[in-house]
Amino acid sequence: MDDDLIIGIDLGTTHSLVGVVDSGFPLVLADSAGERLLPSCVTWPAGRAPLVGAGAMRARALAPERTVASIKRFMGRPFADLTAEEVETTPYRLVAGSRGETLVQLDDETLVSPEEVSALILGRLRETAEQALEQPVRRAVVTVPAYFNHSQREATRKAAELAGLSVERLLNEPTAAALAYGLDRLGEDASVAVYDLGGGTFDLSVLRMREGLFEVVATAGDTRLGGDDLDLALARHLAESLGLGPLSESEEAILRVRARETKETLSTEEKVAVRLPFFRGGESHEIEVTRERFERLARPILDRTGPICRRAFAEAAEKGVASVERLILVGGSTRIPLVRESLREWFGLDPDLSQHPDEAVALGAAIQAGMLCGRVRQILLVDVTPLSLGIETFGGLMNVIIPRNSTIPVKAGELFTNAVDGQESMAIRVLQGERELAKDNWLLGEVVFPFSAGPKGSARVGVQFSINRDGLLEVLARDTATGEDHVLEIRDAAVDVEDEAVERMIGESIDFAFEDMNERVWTEARLKSEELLPAVEAALGAVGGRLSGEERDLVAAAAAGVRIALADEGHDAKALKSANAALDEATQALAALLVEAAFEDAGP
């Protein structure tokens, strides 16, 4: 038995895996049923212990409100941060906790946190590892999306702790994939980019590999972009094409499962016959979906990865990596042919498909674990922080203290003084993000530090912000008079308000949120219509002449559909949303023409 053993875990949105380095080679461990991929899904059968994995997946249609999938999307995010769309399209019920955090409500009595759900998944992986290795396991490297902020990382760390695992390192997923790629290419010097599109998150990282040193130079991403979004778009398309009307939670769940299977099949087939036997009692449905049709739905979602890549490439170029020699694809969604074609078209690079899309991250986690426990010696790794860290200053602006893409660990200090006589403490709001205005960035919380009371300007406190190798923030205050250091706690920003008041406020907002969910969705949809209709007018005025008569008629019909839905006094939110979606789709060619025209006008 090896007390120093560390395992590597890929805690994914849709699947999770566990790996270890054995005799110098990383490998993914299988559970007692021989499965390496554990569905990241937990269900709570009434009166019984929770069930994790494939069994829980099968319960999605039967008990949608007691079955939690894709919990990773909600890790470390306050309830107020979720959009009405996210709450509405999640089959289980999301509510706000007493600190404003997001919780899952399974029934009238049971609330579980995203950390607890993730802990059950991590616990299951720990069991798999213990069975496979025949020894207890207490330490792990756990991967996170590179673009996760401090709160999301902290929630992941806490989940592992709940599962009885000490987190030896939080490792960025694309970095992990690069380790898996580079392990048997240590002699090569290269600049590589990892394009990691998973079930729920997207990351792009650019790395320089030189003499066994893996250096991340730039990273960018979107923590709410992945295969789940494609499933949802396809499920909506199926519901609409079949004219299914309003769906129950279970019907929605069945449709989502079918959509996912259809998406997966379309990666290798040109068309699929989607069957829904005995859907809603006696009804049976069948419809054919072609790859071309799916790609039209997927393109707007996948196109969002383009600018993120360009941004990371531009930043890497500023840091001396002018060109990327290899573009490594990982994550299940990179099996989609359109992803590969788009990358070829955008960057003229033939994607490197040498890595297993589902396993590369887990293998990388295992390698990092091996590095930490001395089983892998020839590799060194340095990573960066994905988001700028700053504090709120006068006028609600964000003052950047640590810029994004700084090599971690990193430290930076600021000196503060008392602004009034006798002031005993000061609170500063800590932010993460890239926007000028404080309110547009993530508020990580507040830190309060003490002054020794004295006349204005006499007290001086040096506050040091540091980001450690896990990408977690630590704040340290040093009283310059005494030279004493203390670690400051980052508190949720709402704790200053009286507890009872907070509970009432949040209680009200939950009631409000759920009673008025239709109204909230209607308002979001109405805003979208009000944005689209004038845009259609403007676009037709500018480039309408380039459309065929038939195309113009289609746009006009879709616009008329939105106007009719908008005039509905009953505020049918679903109808307005689908009218918007139809207009959105009908105007895709028009949008492309406008962009083309803008570049032509600016051309030489």
Partner: protein, 182 residues
């Protein structure tokens, strides 16, 4: 913070070649692998400072002539540029705000024309800023020679102007990156 030149075992020189800084940093990373976070972060900061010519000039002056008062204020030859940067940044920010509000491909496409124009304007500014910056950082050999005679005035004046240019360059780049995503 400890002298960044010393941290990377490099001579206190303005004329460091970027690859020398990189090589020393890699060497130090290897030597200190598994070191505590405080030491590792100092090594990373030292490399970040010395790879950037403006920060390197600052660190060099700090090491050579720490007591002198920094130069403040914008030189007259930069005033005209300064006056033109503000409005371009402000109008770009307004455009970016409209863009962020747009939720549909069509609404974003309607802004494409303005977005292209803004990109050209910001690029134009960058094309003015970069040669000015290069002209000042191109004088590093001259500053080293003057320093041998105990004179730091020119270097200090250059640092004052370079700090402005660097800030404007960063602001323009930030807008350009945001526009690229539109």
């Amino acid at each position: 913070m400890t002298d960044p030149f010393a941290l990377l075992d490099l001579p206190v020189s303005l004329l460091l070649d970027p690859s020398t800084v990189e090589e020393s940093w890699r060497q130090r990373v290897r030597e200190t692998s598994g070191a505590d976070e405080a030491e590792a972060s100092e090594i990373h900061s030292a490399r970040a400072l010395l790879s950037d010519p403006v920060a390197r000039l600052g660190a060099w002056l700090e090491a050579k002539d720490p007591v002198a008062v920094p130069e403040r204020g914008i030189a007259t030859e930069l005033m005209d540029l300064f006056a033109r940067i503000g409005p371009v940044l402000a109008s770009t920010d307004a455009l970016l705000a409209r863009h962020r509000k747009a939720t549909t491909a069509l609404a974003r496409a309607v802004l494409a024309k303005e977005s292209v124009a803004a990109q050209l304007a910001v690029q134009g500014l960058l094309q003015e800023i970069q040669p000015l910056k290069a002209a000042l950082t191109g004088r590093f050999a001259e500053f080293e020679a003057a320093a041998a005679g105990g004179s730091y005035g020119e270097a200090r004046r250059a640092l004052g102007q370079l700090k402005f240019l660097k800030r404007w360059e960063a602001q323009c780049r930030e807008r350009l990156l945001a526009l690229l995503a539109t």
